[in-house]
């Protein structure tokens, strides 16, 4: 009986998923001129779409391009260079795992650590605070990377550090906000007809904060969860709106997302952060798209404390085209370096480093369906 099964199991039911794939394909073929291009704006969606085989199943009908939805990938080379400089100056730098291997203009945090620099993994911002508390003889800097989802947690950690008080804790603020990035993207030229909106970020900011996509840009968009059926239902809904000429921002993830979002988390975030200009890899500087420490909290800003600021970085010498990938202008396999010079073991850009990066997702889950792959892939598989 359908009702007896746990909910999450129905969201990954292959039967329902296949039926949705078929319906979308027929609709696109009959009513939308045979092809639709949509953008997903969340690294977790990118990975789920590749991993579950949705991208492959919809090939030729729906192109799903990845937007600036991976927090590691959009961190600018300038910021990475500044983080490396902090680590090289003898401070203890704590960071989320995927930042370790991201190349700046000359080196990465991982390489600094191998040369003896104090670079440590943190699993949460609070982790960094407890590390600072238990190592009073070290100056500890937490690299605050992430979207609206991570910023409230960092705000709580910063507040905790002040309350203790900890004299040896500060952060390098490199947070980014999703709505200004989407605006910046849409003010340039993007060839997408709709958006698959991020479930996690929306949990914090709410549907309302994204409604401008329909109201100002007349684009249909759906906030979706992360199971295959969630994603396919969202694509189904967007194509349905396209057929009817409608533009709405629909919350198809009501089990986690509310109209106004998580106001508690928002309050925590704004208690110590204020909007600031930020530079995005691929998109360049976008006014008001990042978070800086508010007046009264600047003493916790590692840039001020140690006089280390992001300096303009030269162009990536490697020929990496992450910038185009992040704007949805280039599908990873079309990058001339993809899977040749650039692999997860020798990444040329963050999109290949981060587990949420588009190039890594394509490399890991979608390579080898061509001449490189098994004979008759797809139909294959033991039964």
């Amino acid at each position: 009986m359908e009702a007896d099964r746990p909910l999450w199991e129905r969201f990954r039911d292959p039967g329902i998923a296949r039926a949705l794939v078929a319906r979308v394909r027929v609709r696109v073929a009959r009513e939308l001129g045979g092809h639709v291009s949509l953008m997903e704006v969340c690294g977790t969606h990118t990975v789920a779409i590749s991993r579950s085989g949705i991208r492959a199943a919809l090939r030729d009908a729906v192109t799903l391009v990845s937007g600036p939805g991976c927090p590691v990938c959009v961190t600018s080379p300038e910021d990475v260079d500044a983080m490396v400089a902090l680590a090289e100056s003898g401070l203890t730098v704590l960071t989320f795992g995927d930042m370790m291997r991201v190349p700046g203009s000359s080196t990465s945090l991982e390489a600094v650590r191998a040369r003896g620099g104090r670079v440590r993994l943190a699993y949460s911002p609070m982790d960094a605070v407890s590390y600072a508390a238990s190592h009073p003889d070290e100056q500890v800097v937490f690299l605050a990377v992430g979207f609206e989802t991570t910023a409230p947690g960092v705000a709580l950690a910063v507040a905790q550090a002040r309350e203790l008080p900890l004299a040896n804790f500060s952060i390098y603020p490199a947070h980014k906000l999703i709505p200004p990035a989407l605006r910046a993207l849409l003010d340039q030229e993007v060839g997408v007809q709709g958006f698959l909106l991020p479930g996690h970020v929306s949990t914090v900011i709410g549907r309302r904060a994204l409604a401008f996509l329909a109201e100002e840009y007349r684009l249909p968009a759906v906030i979706a969860g992360f199971e295959p059926v969630d994603i396919l239902m969202a694509i189904d809904r967007i194509t349905h709106m396209l057929v009817r000429g409608e533009a709405e921002v629909v919350n198809a993830y009501p089990r986690a997302v509310r109209e106004e979002g998580n106001t508690l988390a928002q309050r925590a975030m704004w208690s110590c952060f204020a909007p600031a200009d930020a530079a995005w890899r691929g998109l360049g500087p976008i006014p008001g798209s990042g978070l800086g420490l508010r007046d009264g909290w600047e003493d916790l800003d590692a840039c001020r404390r140690y006089g280390v600021w992001a300096q303009p970085a030269g162009a990536m010498r490697t020929g990496c085209r992450c910038g185009d990938v992040l704007r949805g202008l280039l599908l990873p396999p079309r990058c001339p370096l993809f899977a040749r010079v650039c692999t997860p073991a020798a990444p040329q850009g963050p999109c290949m480093v981060s587990s949420e990066g588009a190039c890594a997702a394509y490399y890991r889950y979608e390579r080898g369906d061509g001449d490189d792959g098994p004979q008759g892939a797809g139909a294959a598989g033991p039964r």
Binding site: W8, P14, A17, R18, V21, C42, G43, T44, V47, R51, S52, G53, I54, A56, A57, G69, C70, P71, F96, G97, D98, R101, E110, A111, R113, A114, R115, A122, Y123, S124, M126, D127, V145, G146, F147, T149, T150, P198, V201, F226, P228, T343, P344, A345, S355, E356, Y363, R364, Y365, E366, R367, G368, D369, G373, P374, A377, G378, A380, G381, P382
Partner: protein
């Protein structure tokens, strides 16, 4: 061959691509010989008419104690399992301890007591040992190195060269639990869970299969670092055949699955310490599955795919019916930020 440049990174030790590079570019060119070149879990040596299996492994884990096990139990089970994977009956172990100055003796005693009970469980004896104490900060509490010795039945034929297209793939139980238990025990994630490491000696289970269904096991590995996907890739290369795994068929507990979703980890790449992936003769596969399921350590076993003629690659058939290639991991997996 290009000479490796740069420094040793932590990622060189995680069992993925960089580890393979160290082996093929640094170790094998100098230390290589036909036995080592097989890169099996244990070396099988012919000694005066007797076939011995010999292996070594080092254990570093933080924290030292975690739900379902500890570094001592891990050290015994890991080595017993390496011997079991070549079909050997494990007999003797050695244990080398690297201790950090300042370590609580009580901690060391607990570790040794745990080794002792794991050894009893596996029916092996620790017959040689060594202790070194190093300055504070040089190691993290306790590191343990073990070597293991076992006997291989004279008539046993097992190994990649015995695998045929059509043979079935069998996993002895749900995957990913050891890695999740250890990550959660570090306490950095503030997640409550009941997940326990699967750390256990597999010689009893493998012995049951070998006695009740002789000749059915063709080739096996235990998916420790790098997980099921990594051993599937390595085994496919060693056999020169393609391995197809069915995503739907791979056993995963509900809790482990939910945690992986939450953290953004792929269970196929998470370490196990009490599981094996075996290639089994196609006609005897159902019987081997029955034998596994009758043993407490194989209760969750499942047939998860098959070997086919090909070029030595591993593939996963997804629930949506697509096929994707499995790869060695490049660097450890981290919980997602997003």
């Amino acid at each position: 061959m290009t000479a490796p440049k740069g420094q040793v990174l932590l990622a060189h030790g995680d069992g993925g691509l960089l580890t393979h590079r160290l082996i093929s570019e640094v170790f094998l060119p100098q230390l290589g010989n036909p036995v080592l070149a097989r890169l099996e879990d244990a070396a099988v040596l012919e000694l005066e008419g007797c076939r011995l299996a010999f292996t070594t492994d080092s254990f570093v884990v933080r924290p030292l104690f975690f739900p379902g096990g500890d570094i001592g139990r891990l050290a015994v089970c890991g080595t017993v399992n390496d011997l079991s994977m070549v079909g050997a009956r494990p007999l003797y172990l050695s244990a080398g301890f690297l201790l950090e100055e300042g370590l609580d003796l009580e901690v060391l005693e607990r570790v040794v007591a745990s080794m002792c009970s794991a050894a009893a469980e596996a029916g092996v004896r620790v017959v040689a040992g060594d202790t070194k104490v190093v300055e504070r900060g040089s190691v993290d509490g306790v590191f343990i190195n073990t070597a293991g010795l076992g006997v291989v039945p004279p008539a046993l034929r097992m190994g990649p060269e015995t695998v045929r297209a059509g043979d079935r793939l069998l996993v002895s139980g749900p995957v990913g639990e050891h890695a999740l238990a250890v990550v959660l025990a570090r306490g950095d994630l503030e997640i409550e869970s009941t997940i326990r490491s699967d750390c256990a000696p597999l010689n009893g289970l493998v012995g049951d299969i070998m006695t009740q269904c002789p000749g059915a096991l063709r080739f096996m590995r235990d998916p420790t670092r790098g997980g099921l996907a990594t051993v599937a890739c390595e085994m496919a290369v060693a056999c020169g055949l393609d391995f197809y795994l069915l995503e739907d068929g791979i056993p995963l507990t509900e809790e482990a699955g939910a945690l992986c979703d939450l953290l953004g980890l792929d269970p196929l790449y998470l370490a196990n310490e009490g599981k094996f992936l075996a290639v089994v003769d196609r006609d005897q596969a159902d019987r081997v599955l029955e034998i596994c399921r009758a043993h407490p350590l194989g209760a969750g076993a499942a047939l998860v795919g098959e070997a086919r003629s090909g070029r030595g690659q591993a593939y996963l058939v997804t629930a949506l019916g697509g096929t994707r290639r499995l790869d060695l991991p490049a660097g450890a997996q981290f919980p997602r930020i997003c």
